[in-house]
């Protein structure tokens, strides 16, 4: 039942292989050629400049919005802080609810139909409703972000708790462990990797949620800036904003990977070695 990020090892593996030393030059070459063709196409009038801004203009826009006018920072700050706060709150809610439901079979049974309905509804679509109901401001934006990002941690925590290994459970019971000990020493640590997978999805969803919220509540944020630019037919700057989001998305991806290495250390060779020597030190010193 758990949901997982759609970034497969196969892809990451291929990516790493394709970005290896000599190959990266080839990739950059291809990329530059494509960009140049685009630029040329635009200059020669093959590409409609209304829709396809020139790469050179996009670069200029980057310069403008980041340095010359420096107007993007304010919006970036707004979006990112909102995403992080909403993500933390939403996933706390999700994990808490998931654990609660996971442990209580009665609640679980009664909640199931609602979960199915919630799962089938495009949750992001509730955004206009929430803004209308909760009014303008940070609250309704946060509510949207929480709504879109609570689900993955919820489902994954739930499945982590439910799918606890039978044999390990038997081991704990044979050692006469209490319910809280089983929860603390077995169920929660065991569920961490799958919860982390949910968290990664949640953070990505949070960014999308923030954007939709900003499309509707246009006071600030990258989403609203993109709208201003497209409205003004300034596609180059709209693209600069979108590429900014690509970078943020990439940072989220990498950041969550790091976090996973740190929290679910036992899944990774490097993490195991790090913790192994760390525990040795703490054991030997005192």
């Amino acid at each position: 039942m758990a949901v997982q990020d759609a970034t497969s090892e196969v892809l990451v593996d291929t990516l790493e292989r394709s970005l290896r030393n000599r190959r990266i030059a080839k990739h950059v070459g291809i990329f530059l050629t494509l960009t140049l063709l685009w630029e040329l196409g635009s200059r020669m009038g093959w590409l409609d400049p209304l829709f396809y801004p020139r790469p050179s203009n996009i670069i200029r826009s980057f310069w403008l919005i980041y340095f010359q006018n420096a107007n993007v920072w304010f919006h970036l700050y707004s979006t990112i802080s909102l995403v992080i706060i909403g993500w933390v709150l939403g996933s706390m809610l999700g994990i808490g609810l998931g654990a609660l439901v996971g442990f209580n079979t009665v609640i679980r049974r009664f909640l199931k139909p609602y979960v199915i309905v919630l799962e089938a509804t495009p949750r992001i679509a509730v955004a206009p409703l929430l803004i209308a109901a909760l009014g303008f401001g940070v609250n309704s934006k946060l509510a949207i972000i929480m709504l879109v990002c609570f689900f993955a941690p919820f489902i994954n925590t739930l499945s982590g708790v439910i799918n606890v290994n039978e044999e390990r459970l038997e081991l704990f019971r044979s050692m006469r462990a209490s319910k809280t000990q089983i929860l603390r020493k077995l169920v929660l640590p065991d569920a961490i990797p799958v919860i982390m997978a949910g968290e990664r999805l949640a953070l990505t969803a949070a960014l999308s949620g923030a954007l939709v919220a900003e499309f509707i509540q246009r006071d600030k944020g990258i989403g609203s800036l993109i709208l201003v630019y497209t409205r003004n037919l300034n596609m180059a700057s709209a693209f600069a904003c979108i590429f900014t989001l690509t970078i943020i998305g990439f940072l989220i991806f990498k950041g969550m990977e790091k976090l996973d290495h740190y929290i679910a250390y036992w899944k990774y060779e490097g993490g195991r070695e790090r913790m192994s020597s760390k525990r040795k030190r703490t054991m030997v010193e005192p």
């Binding site: 997982q4 990020d5 509804t121």
Partner: protein, 286 residues
């Protein structure tokens, strides 16, 4: 790592369902009752949460007496399905090409990853600019954001085949085409369908979000209109139609998954087993 989710079984005899769901109905009735009373007594403002009875009359009006929802319903459904079909078609073709041809995979991967880390939602204004005001832009956004999970899952399924099975095929002297047709393709089906299910959900989100941004018809724009008129009851009734679309899409895919990837579930296996025995008997008679 790849995407997966387990199907929710939808079987059971009518009587059985009646008995099993009775407590659920009771609980549902209690919740609705409490809700109605708290709105009626002013405990909750009806602007934020309308009365269940108001929602019910909105449902009756939209779905039965006026029937206005259906046009929008089918438009959104079409957008999601066509978008999904295009996204899935491109994703599966690219995944097949990538699995067969390693250099291709290396050159496609970086772009697929870039597309993945960019929040698809952010492209909404640009997509509308590019594909215009008709259904095209909704379909395009649906296709773009459903592309990645399908691509990744299919590629993973095609590439990560069991090594022992691969060795078996090699030892039998199978050609590449045979390995693909008889091993890789069927082995990839379960993951591919898991990707399809996620892709369908995201396609619906894409269609609805694009409708929020701009549309003449569709449940997304209908919902915006209702919430603009502060008609929260009708707005929620429209949201319900999105849930229905979501459920229709999910269970249709579930149905296909169940028949095509029949070997995962006992009941389907037994049916397939009987069918093949019959075919054999028929052929033997000839």
């Amino acid at each position: 790592m790849s995407v997966s989710d387990q199907p929710i079984p939808l079987s059971g005899r009518i009587l059985d369902i009646g008995v099993r769901f009775l407590p659920h109905f009771v609980l549902f009735a209690v919740i609705i009752g409490a809700w109605e009373i708290s709105v009626a007594t002013g405990l909750i403002t009806s602007i934020i949460i309308p009365r269940p009875s108001a929602i019910w009359s909105a449902i009756v009006e939209l779905y039965i007496t006026e029937g206005t929802i259906y046009r929008h319903f089918f438009i959104t459904l079409t957008e999601a399905v066509v978008g999904f079909a295009i996204g899935a078609g491109v994703a599966v073709s690219l995944a097949i090409a990538s699995s067969l041809w390693d250099p291709f995979r290396r050159y496609v991967t970086p772009y697929a990853v870039v597309l993945n880390v960019t929040p698809g939602i952010a492209l909404t204004p640009v997509i509308i600019a590019w594909f215009g005001y008709g259904m095209g832009s909704k379909i395009a956004l649906a296709a773009i954001i459903s592309f990645f999970p399908i691509f990744v899952n299919t590629l993973t399924g095609l590439v990560q085949v069991d090594e022992d099975r691969e060795e078996l095929f090699n030892s039998l002297g199978a050609s590449n085409v045979q390995v693909f047709r008889k091993l890789r393709a069927p082995a990839a089906l379960p993951l591919m369908f898991a990707g399809f299910k996620i892709g369908l959900t995201t396609a619906l989100i894409g269609a609805v979000v694009a409708e929020f941004a701009q549309a003449t018809d569709g449940v997304g724009v209908l919902m915006s209109r209702f919430s603009f008129q502060l008609n929260m009851a009708a707005s929620l009734a429209t949201l319900l139609s999105m849930t229905v679309i979501g459920l229709i899409l999910f269970y249709s895919m579930e149905f296909l998954d169940d028949r095509i990837v029949f070997w995962r579930r006992e009941s389907r296996r037994a049916a397939a087993s009987r069918a093949r025995a019959r075919t054999w008997a028929a052929q033997a008679k000839k």
